[in-house]
């Protein structure tokens, strides 16, 4: 379904609107078949990083390439799952119609969808556990189901890079697990996956690489090396509490205690 698209290389990327920089001097090289979590507080530039890869936020300096080619020449090989809040869910269309949008570049203007396109849509809906909901008006779906529709739309692109902007926000536990399982499956098939997230522990569990962002890349590497109090502190400042229980560092948002003995991060 997905293919190996080659190395995703971000070289000295500066991005942002107007005078300020939302992101400064980002350099990352992500080999194919990796699942990367982009982690940082709100307004840290997580979403901006994903959007700048696509050129949705102006790239003011630097370059992004995929398999050696400028990424703008391989746009439809990159599937983007935007934040759910950005669209009008009362729009008069059905779930399978939204999923079909992922095939539009392939179909081209004027022409209609072929049987192969419809099959791809059905398969993608089945894959995200929504086989029988394709005809449903999108506004009648739950938050988790809407997120699955977006995911299915990305799947039918058969892209080699997936960029997911906070896919876990506002979804039920079942959808969260389905998304995680799907991301792993696609990764195993050779796809490169970047997803922006708030969920620090979840990210550390599922990802091959973590990328901590706060206006710039604070740290980047495997969870073992990067998921440390130092990195967390540098990324989130004093807003995160670390609960050290045995060999795992558990992280909580400041002031949000879960029974266990919590203490502010000292350092």
């Amino acid at each position: 379904m997905t293919t190996n698209g080659g190395l995703l290389a971000i070289q000295g990327l500066w991005a942002g609107y107007g005078e300020g920089w939302a992101l400064e001097d980002v350099t990352l090289a992500i080999p194919p078949g990796r699942l990367v979590s982009v982690i940082g507080p709100n307004g840290s530039g997580k979403s901006t990083l994903l959007r700048a890869i696509l050129g949705l936020v102006p790239r003011r300096r630097g370059a992004v390439s995929l398999g050696g080619l400028p990424i703008d020449e391989r746009r439809s090989d990159v599937a983007y799952v935007p934040q759910r809040e950005l669209v009008d869910w009362s729009f008069p269309i059905g779930a399978s119609q939204v999923v079909m949008m992922g095939r539009y570049p392939r179909i081209g203007p004027v022409r209609g969808a072929t049987v192969a396109d419809r099959d791809a849509v059905d398969r993608a809906l089945e894959r995200v556990g929504m086989a029988d909901l394709g005809g449903r008006q999108i506004g009648a779906l739950s938050g988790g189901q809407q997120q699955r529709v977006f995911l299915a739309r990305a799947l039918v692109q058969e892209a080699s890079v997936l960029l997911l902007d906070e896919p876990m926000t506002g979804v039920d536990r079942g959808t969260e697990e389905a998304i995680t399982a799907l991301m792993r499956e696609l990764r195993d098939g050779g796809a490169t996956i970047l997803h922006a997230t708030h969920d620090l522990e979840g990210a550390a569990d599922v990802s091959d690489l973590l990328c901590f962002v706060n206006g710039r890349v604070v740290a980047h590497g495997p969870p073992d090396e990067t998921f440390t109090p130092q990195t967390l502190h540098a990324t989130f400042g004093g807003e995160v509490m670390i609960v050290d229980s045995g060999d795992h560092a558990h992280v909580h948002g400041g002031g949000h205690h879960h029974g266990g003995h919590a203490h502010p991060d000292a350092g």
Binding site: N42, L54, L56, S76, L141, G143, Q146, R153, D199, G253
Partner: protein, 316 residues
Amino acid sequence: MGWLTDPLALELFQRALVAAVLMGATCGAIGAYVVLRRLAFIGDALSHAVFPGVVLAYVAGVSVFAGAMIAGALTSVAIAIVSRGQRIREDTAIGIFFAGAFALGIVLISTQSGYQRDLSAFLVGDLLGVGWDEIALSAVTGLAVVGVLVALRKELLLASFDRVYAQALGYPVFALELLLLLLLTATIVVSLSAVGIILVLAMLVTPAATARLLVDRFTPMMVAGAALGALYGVIGWYVSYHLGWSPGGAIVLVATLAFLLAFIFSPSHGLLAHRLRRHPQHAARHAAIDPPPGHAHGTEGGPVVASLRRRHPPGR
């Protein structure tokens, strides 16, 4: 049946009926985008902004259609460019150019004392004054507008539903939006002789809004909008003939009345249907507790997500 056939005896009235149907169908079709993309204000602005073009073309003795198209296109482009920056929002840009262009038309007309009566036909429409040449132009323009809407149905739908995703796929979203404004301008221009500058907005919005209350998919909504627009043209025209009302006014009143009926009686989205569905009472309580689907901002993703979200206000 005399009331139905008698008015058709005169060619004058046949022309008026054909013009009303063409206007209604074209406006109703593009109206789906006007309603869903919230272009009502820009539609109103464009209908006024074509006015100086109409006056200038009239005075110069050239095609009024061409003059109106040029004025409308220039205004569309000006609005699109000015509102592209972040300091001036789109509605502000629309307000500036809409009133400015209309003022230019008024100033021009005030310098041309002899033309006032003829030009006033463009303000309120003059269905009985429409000639076959204008009808031919309306038909060709209407077909062209609908043809583009059909040819680019996927792209326009995608850019309307999810602009960011369309951009991510590499679609020229700005060009598509500009194209939609140009199609809107063309529709408005060929509708002016039937309903006039002031009432054309109703034909762009009301049939499509009524269709929105009756169907749940985009294509049926566009087809229903076109059919309703044409139907209102016919009914309004007969009302105008028999009661001696202004044709433009009668068509728009019929459209408004039909919308109100749909608003109350629509089987799926009408007021009555909603009322009936709220009984029995537990349904009402249920609705009050459950957030509507699509608006849930739950944070089941984990407590960490929730607390971080609250602690970091959006923006920089």
